[in-house]
């Protein structure tokens, strides 16, 4: 199966004198796979996600996502990469409070220069699927946490990305909303969406992921696919 993510010898140091925040590690995520990354605080989960998303550059190694070597891309190319190849869902939603739900969802598509008609059609399609169409004209501040995260997921999917990155997507939600989002991710995975999910929640990882890796001190301590313990 084609690898959507290919990390080779990837390491990240924030401080040249200190220990590496991540790796070096090798990791491959296949298309359609849902990978859960778990581990304690400071284990390198968010660093890994930032490297895959092109938000940060590795100190060593190469990061290839959907066929593009991300660590070699310039700022403009990275922006294009993020808007076309990946969708991101954050713990605190990161919706723009000044924009309506519809405008938030459309934003990544509008940044690509897509036509208004197309972006609107796609946004409405996603809102219908995610059950938030009635909130199209509402502002994020008026929605519940679960609804906001659904809006964030819709925004992440608007450009049909090859990869969905989710950083603690249920971390800021109550249990009912958390369950709601969990089911949504499961549905997306069943639909063939490749997902990388960073979470503290073993239940979420178990429910949504086809594979789990556990990071400790920047290294893969457990990979459910190989069940190899370092």
């Amino acid at each position: 199966m084609t690898a959507v993510i290919e990390l080779k010898g990837v390491g990240k140091r924030y401080d040249t004198a200190g220990a590496p925040a991540l790796g070096p590690l090798d990791l491959s995520v296949a298309q359609g796979e849902a990978l859960a990354v778990t581990g304690p605080s400071g284990s390198g989960k968010s660093t890994l996600l930032n490297l895959v998303a092109g938000l940060d550059k590795p100190s060593e190694g190469t990061v290839t996502v959907a066929g593009e070597q991300v660590d070699r891309l310039g700022e403009h190319a990275l922006a294009r990469f993020r808007r076309e190849r990946i969708g991101m869902v954050f713990q605190f939603f990161n919706l723009l409070d000044d924009l309506t739900v519809l405008d938030n969802i459309q934003l990544p598509a509008q940044l690509t220069g897509a036509s208004r008609r197309r972006t609107q059609a796609r946004a409405h399609e996603l809102m219908t699927v995610l059950g938030i169409e009635k909130h199209a004209r509402a502002y994020p501040g008026r929605l519940s946490g679960g609804e906001r995260q659904r809006v964030a997921v819709a925004r992440a999917l608007v450009n049909r990305p090859a990869l969905l990155l989710a950083d603690e997507p249920t971390g800021a939600l109550d249990s009912v909303s958390g369950q709601d989002v969990r089911e949504l991710l499961v549905d997306l995975h069943r639909g063939g969406q490749t997902i990388v999910l960073v979470t503290h929640d073993p239940a979420l990882a178990e429910a949504c992921a086809s594979r789990t890796i556990h990071l400790v001190d920047g290294h893969v301590a457990l990979d459910s696919r190989s069940e190899a313990v370092r």
Binding site: D56, R80, R83, N94, L95, P108, L111, G141
Partner: protein, 782 residues
């Protein structure tokens, strides 16, 4: 202040370095602008009085006959009752010299002094040095002759005098100074040496006081020894009239500078404190009292602002130097400097503004419930500006641009401050451009004779200074026959048009004393003055007069007046009011045909296109010299010194105000960008490119820039329309439409764009910073 509080302030100042630097720079520029503006306003107030007091100027300048009163007796007059100080006696003579090109500048009062300093009339040596030996001369900066520079030479009575310096006398006690021996050597039978004494009296504030002082002097010396006196009140009146036009101009810039400084400082500080609410919440959560929070934040604003204020005072004093130099030249007064109290009041005022601007949001933050303060930046914002995002989203523009366009509506107060900064910058630019155009137009129209390519002198003495004079020792030739000269000009190949002109003293019924009459022969349209109302001369029986004439005679256009030139009296009709800047003498223009005895002294000639004026003049000179006339090409009219000074000042002041406006925008955008850094991080995480980020930030000020331009251009236009007539009235004249209507539509559109340019330049730096900000870091920012 407790140690913990000091550490909070120190870390607050250090942590937000960009904002700290921006506060310091914006405050510095605003204070510098206020110091300059305040200084200009101060020196605009009674410039003569200031200079006169600084130089200990003489209340009475007296001239004595040395044959009748000796130096010892004159020295004793300095101890007369009521005399508080005196200087002299200095030898004095009248110098009629020729310059290196053979022209004779106006006669000058030459005084012999060994140095510039004295108890009375303590001169300011503005350039060069003092005359040390014979053959050297120091000219007065207020000498109304041609422009000389150090090193130029003058010749008088076979003596060559080299200009070695320039000095300023507020009381205008002389046109030039040389060593006493040199003055005595230059004296002639026609202009013998006299003795100049300078006095200060304890009661010299009025005409009667001066008259009483004069009586005392008269009584103290032998009969006939006192040749004449001049009161400082006359000099003051002339100086004040000369300075008057600059006052409205300086006041306009001064008010603009001060208002803008207050707006910028206020918005910078209140914005900086207002964006720190979350940190304030944390401080309260760990145990700081509301009062301590307020003190911490006021102090945090005062630290960089205090540095900015101190630097601003220094910068303001440095910037004021060239402007005050220009003002000195415009006023013809002695060395002007920044008033000490401006250096005290401006920083004190700035500190007060900073304090109030910081106190209001800090007090609000202090009162805010801790949980609310902490929630700022984390909880979703609601309300303000959402409608703007909805509306902007519908515009057929890239999303980054429409997102930026709607941003200002989230912070109406900050946006208003930014708008005012841009509007004031645009007002300054519009006003300065209009002023420059108007002054250039005044320069172009005030001497219409200068428009001609060639002047033909018919010989003999002319009224105006700078006439061509024969070489010393040669007899003065008979004036040429104007008819023959006219025929010669007509016959000369290359002549396009010409007219004759003569100037005579005239008397007008109802006007005391004489007026200067300029009389024209032929079609003088080319030499027509700009008309304020009515029309230029079209034939005999007409007269064109300045506004002062109409005012002093109570006449109006259409009335007739009796004008006498020589023995000929003519009744002429006033057909127009001409623009003229001569403030010392009334001048009228009429047709020479009404005064047949008058002969043209000059012919002003225009040459056909493609004909070289110097070549034409040379050929014509060869033709008219045998007739006793001379022809010379006119050099292009030079810009009037006063106009040049005002233009320079306007340019400098505008540049400064535009910089301050740009800094105001920079600060607001820095604040806005810092506040929105998380949102920008989200946008970048969603795929917004650096270019789109720059577009977003620039678009967030573009609307303000356009609106600032739309407000600033009409306001600047109105300010120009208000100030120019006031300047004209101060100079004793109305202004023609061509001086007032100087703006054209493309120019106004360009000036409207100035607002946009100021806004975009101010936002460029934070836009670049936003584009370069690391997305991961921005996403972690709360």
């Amino acid at each position: 202040m407790t140690g913990a509080l000091v550490r909070v302030v120190r870390s607050g100042v250090g942590r937000r370095r960009v904002q700290t630097v921006v506060i310091a720079i914006a405050t510095m520029m605003a204070v510098a602008a206020a110091v300059v503006a305040g200084s200009l306003m101060v020196v605009s107030h009674a410039p003569f009085d200031h200079a006169f007091a600084e130089q200990n100027g003489p209340h009475v300048t007296a001239e004595f006959d040395p044959a009748k009163v000796g130096a010892g007796q004159l020295g004793a007059t300095g101890r007369l009752d009521g005399v508080t100080a005196s200087a002299g006696p200095y030898p004095l003579t009248i110098l009629r010299a020729t310059d290196s090109s053979g022209r004779q500048p106006p006669a000058m009062t030459l005084v012999g002094r060994t140095g510039p300093h004295a108890d009375v009339d303590d001169l300011d040596l503005t350039s060069g040095r003092w005359a040390r030996k014979s053959g050297e001369i120091v000219l007065s900066s207020s000498y109304e002759g041609p422009a000389f520079t150090v090193g130029d030479t003058l010749t008088a009575s076979d003596t060559t005098l080299t200009v070695v310096g320039f000095a300023t006398s507020a009381a205008r006690t002389a046109d030039g100074w040389a060593t006493p021996a040199q003055v005595r050597a230059l004296a002639s039978e026609e202009h013998p040496v006299t003795s100049q004494m300078l006095y200060r009296f304890d009661a010299a504030g009025s005409k009667s006081g001066i008259a009483a002082a004069r009586k005392k002097l008269l009584a103290a010396v032998p009969s006939g020894a006192l040749l004449g006196t001049r009161s400082y009140l006359d000099t003051k009146r002339a100086a004040d009239t000369g300075a008057a036009p600059t006052i409205p101009f300086l006041v306009a810039f001064g008010v603009l500078g001060i208002v803008m400084s207050v707006i910028i400082v206020g918005s910078v500080i209140s914005g900086a404190v207002g964006t720190s609410l979350r940190r304030i919440g944390i401080l309260k959560a760990i145990g700081f009292t509301p009062r301590e929070v307020v003190r911490a934040y006021v102090a945090q604003a005062l630290v960089p602002a205090g540095v900015g204020i101190a630097l601003g005072v220094v910068l303001g004093n440095l910037l004021a130097v060239p402007l005050l130099d220009d003002t000195e030249q415009a006023y013809g007064t002695a060395t002007l400097s920044v008033a000490w109290w401006v250096d005290v009041v401006v920083p004190a005022g700035a500190l007060l503004v900073v304090g109030i601007a910081a106190l209001v949001p800090a007090a609000r933050a202090g009162r805010l419930r801790t949980v609310e303060a902490i929630a700022v930046g984390r909880a979703p914002r609601t309300g303000r500006g959402q409608w703007a995002h909805r509306a902007a989203g519908r515009l057929p523009l890239p999303r980054a641009v429409t997102y930026g366009l709607a941003s200002p509506f989230a912070h109406p107060v900050r946006t208003l401050a930014m708008l005012l900064a841009v509007a004031f910058g645009t007002i300054a630019a519009t006003f300065a451009v209009g002023l420059t155009c108007s002054l250039n137009e005044v320069n172009a129209i005030q001497d219409p004779q200068d428009r001609s390519a060639v002047t033909v002198f018919t010989g003999g003495r002319t009224v105006a200074g700078g006439e061509h004079v024969p070489a010393p020792g040669t007899p003065e030739p008979e004036p040429a026959d104007p008819a023959q000269v006219s025929a010669a000009i007509r016959a000369q190949a290359g002549t396009a048009s010409y007219y004759g002109m003569g100037q005579e003293d005239a008397t007008v019924a109802g006007v005391s004393g004489t007026v200067r009459a300029t009389l024209y022969q032929g079609d003088s349209t080319r030499g027509a003055y700009a008309m304020i109302s009515g029309h230029w001369l079209t034939g005999a029986g007409q007269v064109v007069v300045p506004g002062q004439f109409l005012e002093s005679t109570g006449t109006e256009i259409g009335d007739t007046v009796r004008v006498t030139v020589g023995k000929r009296t003519a009744v002429v009709r006033i057909v127009g009011e001409a623009f003229g800047t001569s403030d010392d003498e009334l001048e009228i223009q009429a047709n020479i045909a009404d005064f047949p005895a008058t002969r043209p002294r000059e012919f002003l000639v225009d040459v056909k296109p493609g004909v070289s004026a110097p070549y034409y003049a040379k050929r014509l000179a060869a033709r008219v010299e045998p007739l006793g006339a001379d022809a010379r090409a006119n050099s292009p009219s030079e810009q009037d010194n006063f106009v040049f000074i005002l233009n320079t000042m306007a340019a400098l002041l505008t540049l400064m105000l535009v910089c301050v406006a740009g800094l105001g925008v920079l600060n607001s955008v820095v604040l806005d960008t810092r506040e929105r850094v998380h949102d920008l991080g989200v946008c970048k995480a969603l795929g917004m490119s650096p270019r789109q980020t720059v577009s977003l930030v620039l678009a967030s000020v573009a609307g303000i820039g356009v609106l600032g331009g739309l407000v600033g251009v009409p306001a600047g236009y109105a300010l120009h329309g208000f100030v120019l007539p006031v300047m004209g009235h101060a100079a004793g004249t109305d202004l023609p439409r061509s001086v007032l209507d100087v703006y054209d539509v493309p120019q106004l559109l360009l000036l409207g764009l100035a607002g946009l340019v100021i806004a975009l330049l101010g936002a460029l730096l934070p836009a670049g910073w936003a584009a370069r900000a690391r997305t991961a870091t921005a996403l972690r920012t709360e």
